[in-house]
């Protein structure tokens, strides 16, 4: 081999950009047998105008080579940690068995969303005209499917020892409070491709994602759950790529045509509000369900939305985009949200696939310290009253079914922005029927597209229409797949508590 051929071979080696070009070659073709709008029917009906699809370049294109290599490495590491977690009885090293209830919510409420994200991205990946967004969405679809799988594999270890984790997919489609995440995602998936990306990639993954990761992954780390920490790390590098897609697609729409701006703004307003309402269950977890707390919801909202989100929307101001409507209401709610939501699950624990409890004295004091303006005045007395009842053997359960918001599907538990003692109850009339909402944010969403939301599958109404297994509580629980007496009811007296107490006793004996 002489020097000349060496130089030739080197020159033939393709750069990253060229390799990506070859990988995606021909994906953005112009059709000839059929008109383009018949092949891509979803590309235009939302009113978004795109003049140059090539202006969107896949933000992941330069990392594509590294992507395959890193994903394979991450998988190997993840499954090695899962093995070692199982072999070393990792479930016994968590702070307290109450913590596992956060995993039950994650597995039944979040992991099925990862799967829906996979489907959603695969769908919009098919329906975008430009090759750039199509490839980015298809790659993300693969990631999301992987997230659903790794989460189920990781958390399934806990299923051997604790209740409520046995059938997350079945529960996701049926259990009343899981209609909240389900309706959130199905609303996005039944919108057009640009609204889907605004909803999921931008509003949820870019703007609100830290409020999901801090409680779940940092919460797992603080509470000794190394299995969850590992899938969190494994997913996190994907998430940063997904966030990039979220921001890029927003900028792409805004740069393509000024008429896109009001449409995008309306979607940002809508999906900020829906995403924020969805996070209320996560917020509750931060303040009530982690035996070792990371930070309060109010602190997290301050850092991750008011500060970080504030800076983001300052950046987007040059396109004419403003801070989402009702962000001020979310800030007004930050000192009360978690107490209201935990009280709701305390009311209805008999119909949930996880346990609730009254915070212990140290936890009540932590809440007083974190919420000096509201906790002792409004919420501590509730918990003290309920605790007194519980000590008399009269644990309070609300035996009536709640009125639900027609949009977010959460029971109407939120209070007036300026008065935490009065419920915020809104309604609209459409074609002679009444519809009810928990907030002005949800009412606005309905009023703009009533035909969509008159189709909402509201669990309470479905029970009363006779579509949920029967008219009695045992029949409905059976239809949900919830085992009465073990998956539900208070943590105090549950089989989870009994098994945990037994383990910790034997661990002390072994040490001492």
């Amino acid at each position: 081999m002489n020097a000349e051929t060496k130089i030739e071979r080197k020159a033939k080696k393709l750069g990253l950009k060229e390799r990506y070009g070859h990988l995606t070659r021909g994906l953005g073709w112009e059709t000839t047998y059929q008109p383009m709008d018949k092949v891509f029917p979803f590309a235009s009906y939302e009113g978004i105008k795109i003049h140059d699809w090539d202006a969107f370049e896949d933000p992941f294109r330069l990392t594509m080579d590294a992507y395959w290599k890193y994903q394979a490495e991450k998988e190997r590491k993840l499954y090695a940690v899962i093995d070692s977690f199982a072999q070393n009885n990792g479930q016994m090293k968590i702070t307290d068995a109450r913590y596992v209830n956060a995993l039950k919510i994650f597995l039944t409420g979040v992991s099925p969303l990862e799967y829906l994200a996979h489907r959603g991205y695969a769908h919009v990946g098919r329906h975008f005209v430009g090759a750039g967004p199509r490839v980015a969405c298809q790659m993300q679809a693969i990631d999301e499917l992987r997230h659903a799988q790794t989460q189920m594999h990781t958390i399934s270890h806990y299923n051997k020892f604790f209740d409520g984790l046995q059938d997350p997919r079945h529960m996701f489609d049926r259990v009343w409070y899981l209609s909240v995440p389900k309706s959130f995602f199905e609303d996005a998936m039944t919108a057009g491709p640009f609204e889907f990306l605004t909803a999921i990639s931008f509003s949820f993954e870019y703007v609100l994602t830290n409020l999901l990761f801090v409680p779940f992954m940092s919460g797992a780390a603080y509470n000794g759950d190394m299995a969850t920490v590992t899938f969190g790390f494994s997913a996190q590098s994907d998430e940063s790529r997904h966030m990039t897609l979220g921001l890029e697609i927003i900028k792409f729409m805004l740069e393509q045509d000024p008429e896109n701006v009001p449409i995008v703004q309306r979607w940002i307003d809508k999906w900020f509000w829906r995403g924020y309402r969805l996070l209320s269950i996560v917020a509750m977890m931060m303040d009530y369900m982690l035996p070792k707390r990371v930070m309060s919801w109010a602190e997290a909202w301050g850092i991750y939305f008011e500060e970080a989100g504030g800076a983001l929307f300052e950046d987007l101001a040059r396109y004419g985009i403003t801070t989402p409507k009702y962000a001020d209401v979310a800030s007004k709610e930050k000192d009360r949200l978690t107490h209201e939501v935990w009280s709701t699950f305390y009311n209805y624990t008999h119909a949930a696939a996880f346990h609730t409890w009254i915070p212990n004295d140290d936890e009540l004091d932590w809440l007083s310290e974190k919420y000096p303006e509201t906790f002792d005045q409004l919420y501590r007395p509730r918990f003290e009253h309920w605790r007194a009842l519980q000590e008399k053997g009269e644990r309070f359960y609300n035996n009536s079914l709640p009125q639900l918001c027609n949009v977010c599907q959460i029971p109407m538990v939120f209070t007036e922005p300026d008065d935490p003692t009065k419920l915020c109850l809104r309604n609209s009339e459409y074609e002679g029927d009444k519809y009810h909402f928990c907030s002005d944010g949800c009412k606005d969403i309905f009023d703009y597209e009533p035909k969509k939301y008159i189709q909402s599958w509201l669990p309470v109404h479905q029970i009363y229409q006779g579509n949920c297994g029967g008219s009695t509580m045992p029949e409905v629980l059976d239809w949900y797949g919830i085992k009465n007496g073990s998956d539900n009811l208070d943590y105090e007296g549950s089989p989870d508590q009994a098994v945990w107490n037994e383990w910790t006793k034997s661990a002390h004996k072994a040490v001492g």
Binding site: H385, S400, M412, K451, Q455
Partner: protein, 119 residues
Amino acid sequence: MAVASIAHYEFPAKDRVENFHGNQLVYLHWEDHLMFCAPVAFPLPPTMSFRGMIENVLTPAYSPHPDFEKIDWAAVRWTLDDVVVEPEWERSLAENKVGHKSLLRFITPGLEGIDGKHF
């Protein structure tokens, strides 16, 4: 625009009254008593009397609260779908204009929850 859709989109409302087997949905809310975290929902026949609803539906739902037995029913103030009303107890829900998915709120003067904490 009532919906953004790729094609004609026309479906009947999922919760129309015909789907409730002769009943209609009624929501009840006791102001200042957030021990019950949200208003409560019931499927009731429109022919049920207002008194029947108080005795057979509202009372079992709310009587676990210690304020309940202190209620002076003559002093209770009612709103029906945000309008102040004075229900006639012997007449039916329909005659009292309580319709499908109506929200009936009641305020009990002097009773604002345990220790006046709206709970």
